[in-house]
Amino acid sequence: MKLKVNNVHKFYGTNEARIEVLKGINCEVLDGEICVLLGPSGSGKSTLLNIIGGLESADEGCIDIGDFCTANMKERELSSYRRNNLGFVFQFYNLIPNLTVKENIEVCAHLTKNPLDIDDLLKTLGLEEHKDKFPNQLSGGQQQRCAIGRALVKNPSLLLFDEPTGALDYKTSKEILDLIEKINHKYKNTMIIVTHNSVIGEMADRVLKLHDGMITSNKLNESKVPAASLEW
């Protein structure tokens, strides 16, 4: 599903303390693309991701995704938008501690009429052996796999990753990125990955660079590197 960001502005604070964190963002991400959003801290990349994900509203402009336009959406509509179109993966996994791996994935399977086959998904995630374990019995990488499974099980058209490797070591980070890539090939979801690690941009179809609330670069990656080959 094609994603279009139309002249998005976002302000924080009031009066003299008012700061514009997004200054008219315009961009497109095509169906099935992996888009990496790069930028230093405070550049506005997480804010943009939150607006795309319907977690924050834009003060001006809107997001078009398929038939939806987020402008003027009410809370209930935003909820429905997220339910039907989006999957979120966070830096710190945010798993429910008293549900097993399989149950954590089932939490989001419940939100759709046609979820992916959970056993098949567990195999893809490499969590088949751990499906009955609780999150505190897993390593960080396994927990992030589970979080990806939870976001993916609805088979959403758009998967949003907020610093998915931020809490992981080098080796595990590479495994997770490899998994993201595999999923993209298998399920063809559009993916937006927010990161400050520029190397991750090498595995993306598109790289957007943000600085001080503005897109400074929007490039299609013509020489994609497989995730497994990334090094930093």
């Binding site: 710190f92 429910i96 549900l99 939490v107 989001c108």
Partner: protein
């Protein structure tokens, strides 16, 4: 696909079983107390209603020196009144102290109810009233000598015409120790010597829908007829004037609103504790909620998820509470009635409105309060949950604290952070201390009341007469019984108007030439002062009279007004010199038949003792219950503070803080709040108790002055401290259990 979030609930119950079990225990106990009280009261009400027709309870009786004639029976039948023999023998000196009436077998009126054992069949069988039997320790199988004859006790019974055991109808209090009734077989009764027999005839109107005024006319006609036909009538007592019949139906359920309010206040309290627990859980799980909301879960779905534990506990509490209330607990309240009133086995029937009051309403209160809290909390955006920004206000700044040591400032922060829990803790301590204050304080208060009344009472005997008597001695005056509307209690209360002379021996300073003086107890109860108006009503004529209060007379013994005797007589349109009351310090030999009421000093003082006997079981339940509430509330609410700070405690351990220092940081604030609450609540509780007394005092003949000795307050604080000390042992253990690795785990 079915939502798997429900699987978290049993796991949550398992993990936090102490908290949930504690809450369930309080809820079950509260609802059990409420439902068993309602069921027992409802059962007794049904019993007293049912015996009127099912057991053909009399509409009145008269006693004559000789048996009435067949013509008399025929006359009454023509007047549509069924009159039946209801003869009895009197034993005045059972074990030297008690009076026992032995009734003949009854077939047509006042049909007795068997309580235990069986009805008498043989000539030497007897069935004793169960209240009297219990009070005197008489058991089935015992032998008992009455009216010169030995009987075998084959059963215990309840007679419809003696649901309350008043020795004389003129008595102020029941006397279950020294007065009892019993039942013989016809064969046995016929063997009793004539000298013991009293010819009582009980009657019932054939028309069961007679208005009160028609009943009064019929009753007056009967009296006239019996006198004019030469019958020597010793007593004539319609049922609505017979305390043994009317006392129970009018007394039953008088405290139901208080009990209902108590149950609902407790349920609301539990609901708030749940709200605090859920709130703390939401703060702990903010990121999970944010994730679920980001994934598309709606606000309603999240509210429903977090509401389920409350709903389950509320439903379980209601169901178990009702089961317990209708089975085990009902015995406590039925026993309370069995100890005081002569009723048959109390029918426990399922009453839908009552069931709703103890099931649907508590569940609704719990769900209502918790839904509101959840709804308010979940108004925040998913992003704020993800960022754990759950407090209102965008730019919250840390409150500036006084320049004191670090440990003290840390403690202040803990108190500030947990103020919601502490406010509920304060309320919980208030409620349980109040219950405890009531349970412990009522006895010394009643003793003080007895002492005050004893000091205030200027006479030893009061005789209210049917007609003037020629007996010598005492001070004669006119007394008129009125009703006045007690606004606070939303009911009429009785007021005695004493018409006194200026030189009254017994009410020396009560006399006023104009208007009225009122007893200080009436003034306190009604909030009346000098120059206020008091409106009273004569319930016989429905006429109202308004008087101006000219003086408050220091008199605690009754709700009374005093006025010039002649003025009262004129007001009541009575002849000059009429009197209907004699006050005396010595007992006067006035025939029972001339008396409406005889009140002795002991009767008045005994009222408080009777009340304590009746409430003994309930007060014990209240005391145990309040200590349990203390324990559970204090435990849960202070545990919330420790749970919330588990990570900080873990950090402190890693930093090298000693267990003693950690206790100081995280337990001392709770200790301070608990102790301050205990002390601060005391005057508030005392104030509430004072107001509660105004309601309670409507149950006895007087006004209960608020009086609590210092030891009661000390006991409350002492119990609070001991309870908290016990809880602290558990808290220390749970703090010791928090692992240092918590602090080292990867966290946002």
């Amino acid at each position: 696909m079915r939502n798997v979030l429900y699987r978290r609930i049993p796991r949550d119950f398992k993990k936090n079983w102490v908290k949930y079990l504690g809450m369930l225990f309080i809820l079950v106990s509260t609802i059990a107390v409420g439902s068993s009280y309602q069921a027992a009261t409802g059962g007794v009400t049904k019993y007293t209603d049912d015996i009127v027709e099912n057991n053909l309870q009399e509409d009145g009786y008269f006693e004559v020196t000789n048996k009435i004639s067949n013509n008399d029976f025929l006359h009454f039948n023509e007047e549509k009144i069924n009159v039946y023999e209801n003869f009895y023998a009197s034993e005045n000196t059972y074990e030297e102290t008690a009076k026992v009436l032995l009734f003949n077998e009854r077939k047509s009126i006042d049909i007795p109810v068997i309580f235990e054992g069986e009805f008498p069949k043989n000539h030497n069988d007897i069935a004793i009233d169960h209240v009297f039997a219990r009070a005197r320790g008489i058991k089935i199988g015992n032998s008992i000598t009455l009216v010169n004859k030995t009987f075998n006790v084959v059963g215990t019974v309840a007679l419809p015409d003696y649901t309350s055991l008043f020795l004389n109808n003129t008595d102020l209090v029941m006397n279950t120790q020294n007065f009892g009734v019993s039942l013989l077989s016809e064969e046995g009764f016929n063997e009793i010597e004539d000298k013991y027999i009293t010819y009582r005839y009980s009657y019932r109107y054939q028309d069961r829908n007679l208005e009160n005024k028609d009943k009064k006319t019929k009753y007056e006609d009967m009296v006239k007829y019996l006198y004019t036909t030469g019958n020597s009538v010793n007593t004539f007592l319609p049922a609505d004037q017979n305390q043994s019949i009317f006392f129970l139906p009018t007394d039953i359920g008088s405290d139901a609103p208080t009990m209902t309010a108590f149950v609902y206040i407790l349920v609301a309290m539990i609901a708030f504790v749940f709200a605090i627990l859920t709130n703390s859980n939401i703060e702990k799980e903010a990121v999970i909620i944010g994730t679920l909301r980001a994934s598309g879960y709606t606000k309603g779905e999240i509210i429903w998820h977090y509401l389920q534990p409350t709903l389950i506990i509320a439903l379980l509490g209601s169901i178990l509470g009702n089961i317990l209330g209708y089975t085990a607990m009902i015995g406590v309240f039925c026993n309370f009635y069995y100890k005081s009133y002569s009723v048959g086995p109390i029918p426990v029937t399922f009453n839908i409105p009552m069931f709703l009051l103890t099931t649907i309403l508590p569940v609704a209160i719990m769900i209502g309060i918790n839904s509101l809290m959840l709804w308010r909390k979940l108004r925040l955006t998913p992003l704020r949950f993800l960022r754990k920004e759950l407090k209102s206000g965008k730019d919250r700044k840390a409150r500036k604290l006084p320049n004191v040591g670090f440990m003290k400032r840390f403690g202040m922060r803990v108190i500030g952070q947990n103020r919601g829990s502490y406010i509920t803790l304060f309320s919980g301590i208030f409620l349980s201390s109040f219950l405890l204050l009531f349970g412990i304080g009522i006895k010394p208060m009643m003793e003080h009341y007895t002492k005050t009344v004893d000091e205030s009472l200027s006479y030893n005997y009061q005789y209210v007469l049917k007609a003037p008597t020629d007996v010598e001695g005492g001070e004669r005056l006119y007394v008129q019984e009125f009703k006045t509307y007690f606004d606070l209690g939303k009911k009429d209360i009785g007021v005695s108007a004493f018409g006194i002379k200026k030189d009254s021996q017994f009410f020396k300073d009560a006399y006023v030439s104009n208007g009225i003086s009122i007893s200080s107890s009436l003034s306190d109860k009604m909030g009346l002062d000098v120059n206020d108006k008091l409106t009273v009503k004569d319930s016989m004529t429905d006429k109202e009279y308004t008087f101006t209060v000219n003086k408050i007379y220091d008199y605690k013994a009754s709700m009374s007004i005093f006025m010039d005797q002649e003025t009262l007589l004129k007001t009541m349109e009575k002849d000059e010199g009429t009197y209907n009351c004699i006050l005396s310090n010595e007992e006067l030999n006035i025939d029972q038949s001339c008396l409406i009421r005889r009140i002795s000093r002991n009767d008045i003082l005994g009222a408080s003792d009777q009340l304590l006997v009746s409430f003994g079981t309930v007060l014990a339940v209240v005391n145990i219950f309040s200590v349990i509430i203390y324990l559970v509330m204090m435990y849960i609410l202070t545990k919330v503070v420790i749970d919330k700070n588990a990570l900080s405690i873990s950090y402190m351990k890693v930093f090298g803080y000693e267990p003693k220092e950690i206790r100081k940081l995280f337990i001392t604030p709770s200790t301070i709040v608990a102790m301050v609450s205990l002390v601060v609540c005391l005057p508030l509780e005392a104030l509430c108790f004072k107001y509660l007394l105004i309601f309670l005092s409507s149950m006895i003949d007087g006004y209960l002055d608020f009086f609590l000795p210092a030891w009661v307050y000390l006991a409350i604080v002492g119990i609070g401290i001991v309870t908290y000390a016990v809880i602290n042992i558990f808290h220390l253990r749970s703090i010791n259990k928090i692992p240092m690795t918590d602090a080292l785990k990867c966290r946002e």
